[in-house]
């Protein structure tokens, strides 16, 4: 039998949670491992259980579903459940998630769950052994994204924030570069200098600058200087 996908339900209304539980009963490949009624209760459970799927309400006391996602290190797949906030969910710019309108239609739920299963099967083989970050939820003003980290070419520290360079977008993340670095895949991300981390997959070329320092040219991106301290490490890791 296939592995069951662990699922967490977050909704402030007990009856709404019960209804979801009942509807999910039709889909035995999903296992409900926890329920929470607000952001504060949900946060530790999701971090501990690291579920594959989150069924998430938007309007909750003490913080919205978006607030919860922003605080999570582990970002599971998310299906929003909402009575009337579909426009809020539509605000997602890229890789939009699924959302279900309450009262939830069983057919719509089945379709959303099928998508989750498909995504999960595709993601699985790529997942590294180490629990490195795969995906980040980023909110910048009115816009939200789920950013796959392998598509991020450059991370630049801006005080207590980190600016991501992701295709054409430059979202700002509410974490420090140091805390983020600890969770990144070291095979892919390299600390170029005090302020910047580059994605090695995006390195197009390396030059020796006039100052004697290495300069890395990123695909569709700027040149990044490698600090003297990091230069040796960089040569080792890239075999240059």
């Amino acid at each position: 039998m296939r592995e069951r996908l662990r699922t967490v339900i977050v909704d402030d209304e007990p009856l709404a949670r019960r209804e979801l539980r009942r509807l999910l009963g039709e889909h035995p490949e999903f296992e409900i491992v926890a329920e929470a009624g607000n952001v504060d209760d949900a946060l530790p459970q999701i971090e501990n259980l690291a579920p594959e799927l989150l069924l998430l309400d938007i309007q909750m006391p003490g913080g919205t579903g978006f607030d919860l996602l922003e605080k999570l290190d582990h970002t599971p797949q998310v299906i929003f459940t909402t009575a009337y906030d579909q426009h809020a969910v539509r605000a997602f710019q890229v890789n939009a998630l699924d959302y279900l309108l309450k009262p939830i239609e069983p057919e719509r739920l089945a379709a959303a769950l099928a998508r989750v299963r498909g995504e999960n099967a595709r993601d699985k083989p790529q997942q590294p052994a180490a629990p490195a970050l795969e995906r980040l939820f980023v909110r910048d003003g009115p816009r939200c994204w789920f950013v796959p980290l392998r598509e991020v070419s450059l991370l630049t520290s801006e005080g207590n924030y980190v600016r991501l360079q992701w295709n054409k977008a430059r979202p700002l993340l509410g974490r420090t570069l140091a805390t983020l670095e600890a969770r990144l895949d070291p095979q892919r991300f390299f600390r170029a200098n005090r302020r910047q981390i580059v994605n090695l997959d995006f390195v197009e070329g390396v030059e020796l600058g006039v100052s004697g320092r290495l300069h890395v040219q990123l695909r569709n991106g700027p040149e990044v200087e490698i600090s003297r301290r990091q230069a040796r490490l960089f040569r080792q890791q890239t075999g240059l």
Partner: protein, 359 residues
Amino acid sequence: MSKNRNYWLLQLGGWGALAAAQWYAATFYLKLEPLRVAVEVVVLNGAAVLLTHLLRAYMRAKRWDTLRAGPLAPRIGVASLIVGVPLGVLNHFLSISALREPSEELNGFEVSTPWDLAHEGFNWTLTIVLWCVVYFVILSGRRRREAELRQSELARALHAAELRALKSQLNPHFLFNALNTVRALIAIDPARAQKAVTQLSRTLRYTLSPDQEDQLVSLDQELEIVDDYLALESLRLDERLRIERNISEDARAVRIPVMLLQTVVENAIKHGIAQLKDGGVLHIDARIEKPGLILEIRNPRPVSVPPATGKGEGVGLRNSAERLRLLFGSAAQLHLDLDEPGGALMRIVIPSKSIAELA
């Protein structure tokens, strides 16, 4: 401004026309000396302008405009006599007094019989009565137009309030969450689900039905609908919503604007209790005190949220306050107190005088 201008136009125009007629008649029919007649009619009608203007000031000071026809008529009679007789005497000593009986020979400066004097005084008293009648007819016409304007303003404000109430009542969040609750209940407690459908229907019907044009309902009627609404929200929020009601019996019959309490309770839940993880107690108090009916709705709210958040809320509150003022006058109050960091207190006062009038 324009009221005053109209007054002067009529006042000067009316007396001016009379003066012109007198001058024309005295000059062309009696063949009196035009210049002398001109001076006389200016003096006479000028005095009339002055005296009637003083009369107007007196009537305004004494608020005669608030009197009914019964008490007004004798007052006008006396006032006209007081103003008319001096004008009659003045007229009597002018050469144009010959206008009264043009066939007689001119004897302008001779003192004639007391009968003639009385006749002049009577004529002028009658003229002033006429002046007063015109004055009050114009005034009452204006009053009626103003009342109509106020009425239509009230109707418009009510309409807006109803619309907004309707919108907030048909808050899609509430509606769809309630439907979701019903869906959940159908599986686990069909009897409760049936009850919930009834309550939801009643809530919707109360807001949608057109038979609410009478604008006022008894507090008891409004409470019934608030109860239906609260029952639905209790299903949804479960133990997070706790309700404490304290309604004194004598308050139940008082008539209040329809949807007023419902709107306030809805806000208390939406912005207060539903925002709190552990919910809280919603207090609904109604009692009769010295100033009148006191309605108090108290609820906890998140401390972090700064008071007076959304622009829409401020408008809603202002609308309700405006509606109260139009229906009950300036003694009616609606005040939202957010001074306490973790709480909100809505206080509505409907003055006893208005309660008595509407009973």
